[in-house]
């Protein structure tokens, strides 16, 4: 074929021309490149991370001393609600989706996600829901019912203002993004893997995102219903949660936690997936017990749907029923145990290199071990009666959701940002950042266990002196600034390295997976020709990794450079990744952002109870969807 005889630079130029986004604002709005979208996800969620972190520091200033007056009770309640909601919905979930977006197509040797426009759409939905949520803060009516917004506290008679509506609508709104993203991941992972990448050759991070996605699809509808019914009660006077009118307040808790507990694992599983990528690379050997680890991920997903009532142990449900959930809560630790020992064995048999990502991974192990153990403890029904809703639980879930999710995410930043930006982060500053975070984290959150034992309930805006809480609270407040400083050092590192960091090159870590095959940052089309995978660790085992040639049939035409020139991808079979069909990559489009904007208007209409805005929003959204579908018919062969 003529293409393969083209001079290299000419081919590059032609590819670049075919794939380049429009410059400036138009390109920003209409891009469907999974890498731009993925990075955007990561940057946006980190903005939310630092806002929510700053709010937590203000909470700690208020709690540093008994009967302090830094925050009014009202503001305190708003701040902790914003902190929790933002961290869960606007940082943890989307940042993982961001890494998935950026990395999955590269890891599986694809040129983009299965539905690039849907991908753009899910980002815009995430951004708009976050902006809608934070608009509450700007206008001074932030939600104040806690991140799980229990009824009847959040029902109209007890929370009359618009505050809670921001929460309820934003939760439903952002759920669209998570669900759409999850569907996209599943189809991408099952149908777009490079030839030869059978299921049992898939990188563990890809497995973890697959698990994440299936869990999200089953769990998110539950929180959507929980918050949706709450909003129906609030906006339209239904009585799903109104006692005496046939409603039940516990119904809300069941619906919420049916999502809420799997959500913990939705966040945690991709984090362990990152760890399972980082540890082997810096142990210079394959992950021990790949099958065990993958099975553990899937098992966690299943069991985690059977534990939600352990958030409701003190609600008066009969002990027999509770004991089932207690048992399931203990059982869910087994898959984590399996993963622990797989990671330990990997290091044990390997040659360990203490890079910054590896330090974060080891820090994660030591932190998550403690969080996992306290997780078993709160699964013990009678013990939970004592510690639930106390600072012990605050300590526990920060060990899990901060320690065991944020540490892997920081490790992942140090590990994958070189791929995404082309610059390696500074190792020395990275290590200082890690140690500051690790020490600050433990000094902040460990003493909270003790506060819980001493009877301090969570979510109190102040406390009286003389209960033995003063010293610990002051200590925690000081330590929290150390932790925050550690996270900021990584920001400093990022800014510094972007300016004059070392060039990363394609594979700075000598890693094994396909994303390290392309340049850093990768070209828009990821791979000019698609690699042919013959191993679980292609870059370690295949020297060099062969690339496919285009053939004349539909299934194999896009594999070679021809596919990159035509903006096509090969669809492969779900199990053994044999080429099956061709899928075109759509051109950049304004439709995703337009439809997302319509959805935003619809929710704003509900929020301000303006039928006009709501109807206009719905019309824009529906019209956009119709146009979108119609155009797709035209675009894709």
């Amino acid at each position: 074929m003529a293409i393969s005889e083209m001079p290299k630079s000419e081919l590059d130029e032609e590819l670049e021309e075919k794939w380049a986004d429009m410059p400036g604002v138009p390109g920003f709005l209409n891009t469907v490149d999974h890498k731009r979208i993925g990075l955007r996800y990561i940057y946006t969620s980190f903005v939310f991370f630092f806002i929510a972190g700053a709010l937590a520091l203000v909470l700690r200033v208020q709690l540093a001393q008994p009967n302090a007056g830094v925050l009014s009770p009202e503001t305190y309640n708003e701040f902790f609600t914003l902190h929790g909601t933002t961290m869960i919905f606007l940082f943890n979930t989307p940042v993982l989706a961001g890494f998935g977006n950026y990395l999955i197509p590269l890891m599986i040797g694809s040129r983009d996600m299965a539905f690039p426009r849907l991908n753009a759409f899910s980002y815009w939905i995430f951004l708009f829901s976050g902006l809608l949520f934070f608009a509450s803060f700007v206008i001074g009516h932030a939600p104040n019912g806690g991140w799980f917004a229990y009824t009847p506290l959040t029902s109209k008679p007890y929370s009359d203002g618009i505050n809670i509506d921001f929460w309820g609508l934003a939760v439903v709104f952002v759920g669209i993004s998570t669900t759409v993203g999850a569907i996209n991941f599943i189809v991408t992972i099952f149908k777009l893997r490079a030839p030869g990448m059978t299921l049992n050759r898939m990188p563990v991070f890809v497995w973890s995102m697959l698990t994440f996605s299936f869990m999200a699809i089953f769990a998110v509808p539950s929180v959507t219903v929980a918050a949706g019914l709450l909003e129906l009660d609030r906006l339209f006077g239904t009585s799903f949660y109104t006692v005496g009118l046939g409603g039940s307040v516990l119904l809300y808790q069941h619906l919420f936690w049916f999502w809420g507990h799997p959500e913990v694992y939705i966040l945690f599983i991709p984090a362990t997936g990152m760890i399972s990528m980082i540890i082997p690379v810096f142990s210079r050997r394959p992950l021990s017990g790949y099958i065990f680890v993958v099975t553990a991920l899937v098992a966690t997903a299943f069991i985690s749907f059977g534990v939600w009532v352990h958030h409701m142990f003190a609600t008066g449900i009969p002990p027999l029923a509770l004991s089932f959930f207690s048992a399931a809560s203990l059982l869910v630790t087994l898959p984590s145990g399996v993963q622990f020992f797989a990671w330990i064995a990997t290091m044990w048999k390997g040659v360990v290199e203490f890079t910054t990502p590896m330090l974060f991974a080891i820090g994660f192990l030591l932190i998550f071990l403690l969080g996992g153990i306290t997780g078993v403890m709160v699964g013990v029904l009678p013990f939970d009666w004592q510690v639930t809703d106390s600072y012990f639980v605050v300590a526990h879930f920060h060990y899990v959701l901060n320690g065991a999710v944020v540490f892997p995410i920081f490790g992942a930043l140090y590990y994958w940002l070189p791929k995404m930006t082309g610059k390696v982060l500074d190792e020395r500053l990275g290590k200082i950042s890690f140690w500051t975070m690790f020490i600050g984290f433990n000094l902040t959150f460990f003493p909270m266990h003790i506060l819980g034992f001493l009877g301090m309930p969570r979510r109190v805006y102040t406390y009286n002196s003389g209960l033995g809480w003063d010293g610990l609270n002051l200590f925690i407040s000081i330590a929290s600034f150390l932790f925050a400083a550690g996270t900021l050092l990584t920001v400093v590192n990022f800014v510094k390295s972007m300016r004059r960091g070392k060039e990363a090159g394609p594979n700075p870590w000598h890693a094994d997976s396909l994303e390290w095959m392309t340049s850093s940052p990768p070209p828009e089309y990821n791979f000019a020709a698609i690699p042919v995978v013959g191993s679980r660790h292609p870059l370690w085992d295949q020297h060099p990794v062969p690339v496919a040639e285009s053939a004349d049939d539909d299934a194999r035409r896009p594999l070679g450079v021809h596919g990159a020139l035509e903006k096509e991808m090969t669809v492969t079979e779900g199990l053994d990744a044999r080429p099956q069909d061709t899928l075109g990559i759509p051109a950049p489009s304004y439709l995703p952002v337009a439809v997302a904007f319509g959805v935003l208007l619809f929710f704003v209409g509900l929020l301000v109870t303006s039928a006009v805005i709501g109807v206009v929003g719905a019309a824009v959204g529906l019209f956009g969807v119709v146009w979108w579908l119609w155009r797709t018919e035209e675009d894709v062969r």
């Binding site: 003190a314 630790t333 030591l366 433990n442």
Partner: protein, 329 residues
Amino acid sequence: MNRPSRARLFVAALLCLFAAGCGQAGSIVNPKGSEASRIATTWWIIFALACVVYLVVGGLIVFAALRGRRRRGASGLRENAFIWIGGIIVPLVILLVIAGVTVNTTSALRNPSSDALHIDVTGKLWWWDVRYIGTNVVTANTFHIPAGRPIDLRVTSDNVIHSFWVPELAGKEDTIPGQTNHLRFTADEPGTYRGRCAEFCGLQHAHMDIIVVVDTEGDFGRWLARREALDGAPTSDLTTRGAVVFQREACAGCHTISGTSANGKVGPDLSDFGSRPTIGAGVLTNTPENLDEWIYDAPAAKPGTSMPQFHSLPARDIAAVTAYLESLK
């Protein structure tokens, strides 16, 4: 350099601090009731297991990382066996032990008892209403129970969800509108035990303390008899004036004082107010000065409370009401 083991030492030091720091009054490991005792025992068992697990697994993590770092060469570790034993079999055994302890403890707790003393506890915004079943005794925020006799607290709410928690006596039970939950336990020894609302319930969740005074059976009988006989009658000129002001101003519209015509239901019953250690469910210590201040401007001390300001009430009237309320004990 030996950083990870320093980290481990650090965590171990924290664990010791943990064990040492928890034993003080008000702590769940300083139990003074049947349920709290059994839970504390359970805690020490799982804590011991947790320490072993943390030290062993944490030790393995650090060992494996350092071993690999020092490049000691090929290891004969059999990965699959290591994962089976460490990740599945041993944890399963530990979890079965914990499950056994859990079932054993749970089955001994919160069981009905035929000779229990029944008390209705209702979570309010933001205080506790307490009623002794079979008597006319109603009180708030502080209540007495006898040591050694099974107690059955019937907890509920007519507003939002709260959670009743006195750490030294028992675990939590949520007060949920539309349902009545039971918290059953026996207090071990006389004393005063502080607790508080544990479920976030709005603006003044932080100020919703409950104080349980545990008496000997004899003391409790005398307390209950005296309490039943309280009639709110003033005993001096000043308190008589206080009683008049109490009836004349808005006070009686919201508060009940048994034996008088004050029978408001919005705020806490004040029939034995003088005997309570705190004002406003834990906002202020119960002293005449603090009560003056509270009556003058309750929302200043407890923003969001239904109790209004009484800025227009002359100071001597406030002092009289204070004297009257403090005399009710």
